[in-house]
């Protein structure tokens, strides 16, 4: 246990992840999924965690909830080093319900045979110490917080719409009275209207309950609408982390810019096109080697200095980026052709790291 310093509680981070490495698998199959992750989540903050398949977003969420033990570093939640807890202490910590997960596909993560009432109440029953009346009261309160009608209580997940199902998952998480909500791709199975509905609900919960919320998503545009901060992961490393407004106005890591340029958009006038940010065969070979910057193989701006992984360094305030060329590349990108001169197909496909 770390003793809480004498500073005001609000300025203390709720969650601290300190130089965490996570390896999955054993022996020759071991693969390092996360490297040197350092991040803090403050109370009442809504953080967007973005990155592509295989970048380690889900592994990070699972590490925070204690489903995976880090091979290095520590995870501190509300003053408790939860990565060091074992056995009964860890189970007791989990039962307190301060940390809740919401999964991507509610049709798969909710039991199809249980009613909405049963799903929302299940965690409370397992936790114990609550009477039947208190449980029903909390179930109704949780449903009300997510804007669902009590008439849905007796329905099963198959009998409600996709947007309602995801709100049931959120109600289930809220019933436990969490301080941090980790949502793993909560909206990727939903259409645009329901997606906005669920994201708006999460933003309201942050405002009304003061919850800290982490949303894993690759839809940058809608995240930008509600999040306070964005963290960009690439191949197990944080490459950029900062306030949404600053990061999205002028990203300092080329991968963040590529994600923004690739997001489908009704408007076609982008400051930079995806083509300007992709490697082509004309670009010089990136520096090889195991210590090279994780993004170098896809980066059109890689130079010799990129043979070593850059550290996260401050851009301004709480905004950090890990790129050797963070001041140079935006100018270079603007000088590149915005679209392929002739149809070509020579940008390398991103291959996720091998499954452990």
């Amino acid at each position: 246990m770390t003793a809480a310093p004498a500073t005001a509680a609000a300025s203390e981070p709720l969650l601290e992840i300190e130089s965490v490495d996570v390896a999955l698998g054993r022996g020759w199959r071991a693969a390092t999924i996360l490297r040197g992750i350092d991040l803090r989540i403050w109370p009442g903050e809504l953080v967007g965690l973005v990155g592509e398949t295989g970048s380690g977003k889900t592994t990070l969420a699972r590490t925070v909830t204690g489903l995976i033990r880090p091979s290095r570093g520590r995870v501190v939640f509300g003053g408790t080093v939860i990565s060091a807890l074992r056995g009964g202490a860890r189970r007791a910590e989990r039962r307190r319900g301060h940390l809740q997960l919401v999964f991507q596909d509610p049709l798969r993560s909710l039991d199809p045979d249980m009613t909405v009432a049963g799903i929302v109440a299940e965690g409370l029953k397992i936790r114990g110490g609550l009477g039947q009346e208190e449980i029903s009261r909390r179930v109704l309160a949780a449903l009300e917080k997510v804007g669902l009608d009590a008439t849905l209580l007796s329905r099963t997940p198959g009998q409600i719409s996709g947007g309602q199902r995801q709100r049931v998952s959120i109600a289930r998480a809220l019933a436990a009275g969490p301080r941090l909500l980790l949502c793993d791709e909560p909206v990727s199975a939903l259409d645009a209207s329901n997606r906005n509905h669920v994201l708006r609900l999460l933003a309201e919960l942050r405002d009304s309950l003061g919850l800290s919320i982490v949303i894993i998503s690759h839809d940058l545009s809608s995240l930008a609408g509600i999040a306070d901060r964005v963290i960009v992961l690439y191949r197990g490393r944080i490459v950029e982390d900062g306030p949404v407004g600053q990061v999205f106005a002028a990203p300092r890591h080329p991968y963040t810019a590529l994600l923004m340029a690739s997001a489908p958009s009704v408007q076609h006038d982008r400051p930079l096109t995806a083509h300007q940010l992709r490697r082509t065969r004309a670009d010089p070979e990136p520096p090889p080697g195991p210590d090279a910057c994780v993004f170098a193989p896809r980066c059109p701006f890689a130079i010799d200095a990129c043979a070593t992984q850059p550290a996260l360094e401050p851009v301004s305030g709480r905004w950090v980026a890990a790129c050797h060329r963070r001041d140079d590349w935006p100018g270079l990108a603007r000088d590149r052709a915005p679209a392929p001169g002739r149809p070509d197909s020579d940008h390398p496909e991103a291959v996720p790291p091998p499954a452990p």
């Binding site: 592509e52 398949t53 295989g54 719409s161 996709g162 259409d191 645009a192 209207s193 329901n194 997606r195 906005n196 509905h197 994201l199 708006r200 933003a203 690759h218 839809d219 940058l220 545009s221 809608s222 930008a224 609408g225 509600i226 949404v244 407004g245 999205f248 106005a249 590529l258 994600l259 923004m260 340029a261 690739s262 997001a263 489908p264 958009s265 009704v266 408007q267 076609h268 982008r270 995806a274 149809p343 070509d344 197909s345 020579d346 940008h347 390398p348 496909e349 991103a350 291959v351 996720p352």
Partner: protein, 356 residues
């Protein structure tokens, strides 16, 4: 890079029974034409597609957009002759390259599939055999449909893999689906779909499950293939932003009907149907600022629900008394721009979005 994908005419001709042949097809040069198509589901109990008429010309990318359950996928499946069990074409005609294929036999469809229509769906992994190399799955199509010998089929398959932007195509040829990422698998599916030079490619939510960076690459690939081969493309998505990325014409579906159709720019800049306007507001607009995320109030009607008047009236913010009477016919409001709305001519709609 592939310059010439055409095969000797004796090989190309062998696979086709209906023989619409290449070159300008009769019927105004349309590759696909649907006239007043009606598709019933649940063994005729409900009408899910209600009088859909649309056409696709060579070299044109037409986007179908709408919420889940709006009938866009069933329309595509009818056009492919692969309706799920319990679904049937009740009325209307499907004309492919000037030939009526509405009542084509199963065997008749087999000659059309692959050689004249190619299709790509959302989850590429579920359409590939997990235990056979992707190369032999493509080569098999070439041997069966085009009568190529084993060695020629392999060479051709590698050429096609290169044409769809797969790196080291000769290596990919010998890999099984589990060894490839989602984006690579979707490229394999596209290679299979275009292997027999179809006149039409149907892509049903083909990029929905992909990461944004990969989605942008696959959309660009579809556009390149259209440019190189003058192929017609029918692109289905629930995300208007994806549709506007590459389509020339947009067809908006709501509850089994086309509510608006027209040139893409026109639809985006001057949407006339309240539903299209709502879809535009909830779509990812490429806005990376903090903002209120909009939603469409209410839920779409049940599939097959019989509603007097406009099917969107229930959720429409500007519904008037006249909206509930009789059936609403589409009206022409501009060059090839049609809207199914009784208030479409009222000036208050024009330029509403432009003013936003």
């Amino acid at each position: 890079m592939i310059d010439d994908l055409s095969l000797p005419p004796d090989i190309a001709g062998r696979t086709v029974d209906a023989k619409p042949g290449p070159g300008p097809a009769p019927g105004g040069g349309e590759v696909l034409r649907l006239d007043d198509l009606r598709v019933s589901v649940h063994d005729g109990a409900a009408l899910a597609v209600r009088g859909v008429s649309l056409s696709v010309r060579p070299g044109e990318i037409v986007g179908l957009v709408g919420e889940s359950g709006s009938g866009k996928t069933l329309t595509c499946r009818a056009a492919l002759g692969v309706l799920p069990p319990g679904c049937a074409v009740d009325d209307g005609t499907i004309t492919f390259a000037g030939v009526d294929v509405t009542n084509l036999s199963r065997r008749g469809w087999e000659s059309v599939h692959g050689s004249q229509i190619g299709a790509v769906f959302q989850d590429p992994a579920s359409y590939l055999n997990p235990s056979i190399t992707v190369g032999s799955q493509l080569a098999e199509v070439l041997r069966v449909k085009r009568g190529l010998r084993r060695r020629a089929a392999q060479a051709r398959a590698i050429e096609l893999f290169e044409a769809v932007g797969l790196h080291q195509p000769d290596r990919v040829f010998h890999q099984i689906p589990a060894e490839l990422s989602g984006g690579m698998l979707q490229r394999v599916m596209i290679a299979i779909a275009i292997s027999c030079d179809p006149q039409l490619l149907i892509a049903d939510e083909a990029t929905t499950a992909l990461d944004v960076t990969i989605q942008a690459e696959v959309l660009e690939l579809v556009r390149q293939l259209r440019d190189q081969r003058d192929m017609a493309v029918l692109l289905v998505s629930h995300d208007l932003a994806v549709i506007t990325e590459i389509c020339q014409r947009i067809v908006v579906f709501y509850a089994g009907e086309i509510v608006e159709s027209g040139p893409a720019r026109e639809i985006i800049e001057r949407p006339r149907h309240p539903y299209t306007q709502a879809l535009l507001r909830v779509a990812s607009v490429g806005d990376f600022r903090r903002r209120e995320l909009e939603v469409i109030a209410g839920q779409p009607p049940e599939v097959g629900a019989e509603i007097s008047g406009c099917r969107f009236a229930e959720r429409c913010p500007v519904a008037a008394a006249g909206c509930r009477d009789g059936s609403i016919a589409p009206v022409t409001v501009g060059d090839q721009h049609q809207v199914r709305c009784v208030r479409a001519h009222e000036a208050r709609y024009a330029g509403e979005l432009a003013a936003r």
